[in-house]
Symmetry: C2
Subunit: 197 residues, 2 copies
Amino acid sequence: MKVLQEKITKHGQVISGRILKVDSFLNHQIDPELMHQIGLEFAQLFSSDEITKIITIESSGIAPAVMAGLHLHVPVVFARKRKSLTLNDDLLSSTVFSFTKNETNEISISKKYIKENDRVLIIDDFLANGEAASALAEMVEKANAKVMGIGIVIEKSFQKGANKLKDQGYRVESLARISSLADDKVTFTSEKMEELI
Amino acid sequence: MKVLQEKITKHGQVISGRILKVDSFLNHQIDPELMHQIGLEFAQLFSSDEITKIITIESSGIAPAVMAGLHLHVPVVFARKRKSLTLNDDLLSSTVFSFTKNETNEISISKKYIKENDRVLIIDDFLANGEAASALAEMVEKANAKVMGIGIVIEKSFQKGANKLKDQGYRVESLARISSLADDKVTFTSEKMEELI
């Protein structure tokens, strides 16, 4: 997705050749118009999959997921990382290790929001090691619903997550795929392929 | 906002005459089309205020805030409740006590996303005791920016938050105002006023 690549190139900051900081438009400050375009792109990619529900994880997944839900006309559910007094139903739970926060979180979704017939699109902001997406997929399967695909805003293709999820049989659609952050420079997968030709 | 009141009446659950659970469309499962309408309503209410930035707090404030940002064409910043490895800039911080979670959180926004000239709209899902909105307003003022108003999806008017914020001189616009949850029944302020006439 060209507009997203341009935004990453212009505003992304690489830290220590490993972390891509995009908090000026995605995960601290949010660019609503970019999110709207991202939501439309996801909706088009999964338009023939009869999606009935989108799930994501708080907090940075919410904006792209809600925009995709707007275009696909389906509800969005976000998994919570912490329990709330008002989230005390029967829960689907799973465990996620976050490398950026260096901690393990139990994440939960109320059972009543994923039903057996649901055709679920999982959306998240980043895909690196695949921890969050795997945990979300696990919850969908615990509910006997079907994972129709995984939509990712930014994939760090040099980490293992995308391949791991594809090996598990999931369709992964990433709007920007980064092949390297070496030398604190963002290289997209397509660029690298062009270099190789 | 009629469509919101109807949604609350139909899908809200009152617990112990005190807590209104709206997790089927606002703070666990999200109705993207309702959020879109809510965003439009906020944009219209603050259309002449030359808003340059919206701030909110993770996680349930994000969806309505991003939709308001879409209609007002301004970026949205969400305050984080926990520090992230990628949020290590100079921070504006404040403290919020959450009655529903029974805990105190330090919330933070990177200084670079609120500037002295900003005309800020604060948006949140609920207003009860006003803890979150006050903390957000405090951060805006620490940055020498201007709070143009506070947009709330659901106000529990029988708690002290709305009056406290108005007494402090803030404009508060709530799309649904609840005067009572007694007997586990939702009564809106306008209904109560009609009963009194």
